[in-house]
Amino acid sequence: MPEHKDKQGVCFFVYNNEELDYVDLAMLAARYVKEYLKLPVCIITDEGTHGWLKQSQSQEDIDKFVDYIKITTDELKPNIRRHYDSPYTEFKAQFSNSNKHKIWEYSPFEQTLLLDTDYIVKNSFLLKSFEYDGVAMFNNALSIRNDKPHQNEILLYDQGIKMWWSTVVYFDRSDFSKMFFDLWAHIADNYQFYQFLYNFPGNLFRTDYCVSIAVHILSGMEQSNIIHNYDDEPMYFVSQRDNVIDANNIQDWICLGNSSTESWKDILIKHSNLDLHVMNKRALLRVKPKLVEHFNAR
């Protein structure tokens, strides 16, 4: 168990690949955390990505937005993910998430909020997490068009169990939380077996599926409220086919919400004051300079 200098804090896993600069994403996400949650930030990364952090970001920014850096040596399993950047661009990239359950070991905090680097905090809602005992995650999501996500992101498959999102994972240091992460590790280690048992699709290793199964098992294979779900509040997301095209200030983002049935149709959306899971990471990286400008101009 690490020593906990700060009681509460936010962690990000940051592993770069050749297509996406997760360092840049993490620095933006950390900037928003500092703005709205005012909590210490820990980046969990590997040697290579750490080198890129020092090379690509100013020391002033690192000192300002990152309080802890944890270097890991885990072997990250090959996990190729297909990404979209609007409906018209598609690319594949390594998705390094096989050690996410080790946050229990890596987090320097007693109460940890683990966020994905594409989750942008735009209000203080997540501070609610620290009132919870045990573990909290979202199991409800809405697109910026207020549409439900694809069916296999509501249930693992059409008659399967409910999906929980591992985008935001809050946990304390209770025995229950330890059990949750142990179970997550077990499911990750036996992923193919659980894929067979729970019948979820695809070849991509998804931690969302691992946590969903862990919640299901810990709930005695029933629906239960053993894991907090932020009182059914949805996690808003920009899908990979949506776009972020401009920012009026650090809060007001101008997005294009793509129709799931008619891909040539977008609607223009101004999105403010709500946290956003920006799955279209390239869009986020494109708008980042403007956001940083807005931060610096204040």
Binding site: Q159, Y198, G220, E222
Partner: protein, 281 residues
């Protein structure tokens, strides 16, 4: 009929050997959860029921009037067939995987006749079958479900059963009178018929949210079956020791109305029987 029959109990109608077996398994499940419960098998002709089907029941009784081959079309006779003052009637293709004792207390105190007005899938999410949407939208009916229901032997409940007498025996005529042709079911549908009777008896039937609500498997899978007709062809069932059942990895700890006879495999039947024997003997 034994003289010492209880005041409160369960009745299950069954009119053929497949249904006797289902009813017996239902009785096993009831007594595994509530060993002191009294359960009566209601049949067309008692002499036709093999002795092996009687284990698990406290009594067997006959339907007093003409017997329809669709067992649920005989629901209207239950008022006269039930040996109990307070009765919970259960469809034979049901397993009771929860203790209903507190529901009994509430129902006896508050209702003459009560039906559930909500059903769930195996995740315990409330579900809305398509026919319910039609009945609510086009006819302003408050839909009730009849996989399990409660009644007392009193005047209020009697009104329901007397009207059901006519409605159930002449169900096609009744449906033709009140429903558009496209909404008339192909076969006798107990939920629709009890809904019509309840609507036409001016609010005698009580519905209480969540009380008596059950898992309805046919309607659970209805939206996703596509070309598959039966949920048992699509969804996975895992029986295990102590009578436990999981469907799609969900532990079933409620009243399970499974509908399809294919569900009740010999393995599941044996496990329910074995668990019943462990609990009661």
């Amino acid at each position: 009929m034994p003289d010492n029959i209880a005041q409160n109990g369960y009745v299950i109608i069954a009119v053929n050997p497949t249904e006797y077996r289902q009813a017996q398994c239902c009785a096993f499940s009831i007594k595994s959860k509530m060993p002191d419960a009294s359960v009566t098998l209601v049949v067309g002709k008692q002499s036709k029921v093999q002795q092996k089907f009687l284990e698990g029941f406290d009594a067997i009784t006959e339907l007093p009037f003409t017997v329809a081959t669709n067992c649920r079309q005989n629901d209207w006779q239950l008022y006269w067939a039930s040996p109990y003052e307070n009765t919970i009637a259960i469809d034979c293709s049901t397993l009771v995987k929860t203790d209903l004792t507190s529901a009994w207390d509430y129902l006896i105190d508050h209702c003459s006749i009560a039906f559930p007005n909500s059903i769930t899938n195996m995740r315990k999410d409330q579900i809305y079958p398509l026919y319910k949407k039609h009945l609510e939208k086009d006819y302003n009916l408050d839909v009730i479900y009849s996989g399990i229901f409660f009644f007392k032997k009193d005047e209020i409940a009697l009104r329901h059963f007397k009207m059901a007498d006519i409605y159930f025996q002449y169900w096609t005529d009744v449906c033709s009178k009140y429903l558009k042709p496209e909404h008339i079911p192909d076969f006798f549908d107990a939920d629709i018929m009890h809904t019509l009777v309840a609507d036409h008896t001016n609010g005698d039937v009580v519905t209480i949210p969540k009380i008596l609500s059950y898992i309805d498997m046919r309607n659970s899978a209805g939206n996703t079956l596509n070309k598959v007709n039966k949920w048992t062809d699509k969804l996975t069932v895992w029986p295990s020791n102590a009578g436990k059942i999981k469907i799609q990895n969900y532990a079933i700890n409620d009243v399970l109305y499974y509908h399809e006879e294919e569900f009740l495999t010999q393995e599941i039947f044996n496990e329910q029987q074995h668990h019943y024997n462990n609990i009661t003997k």
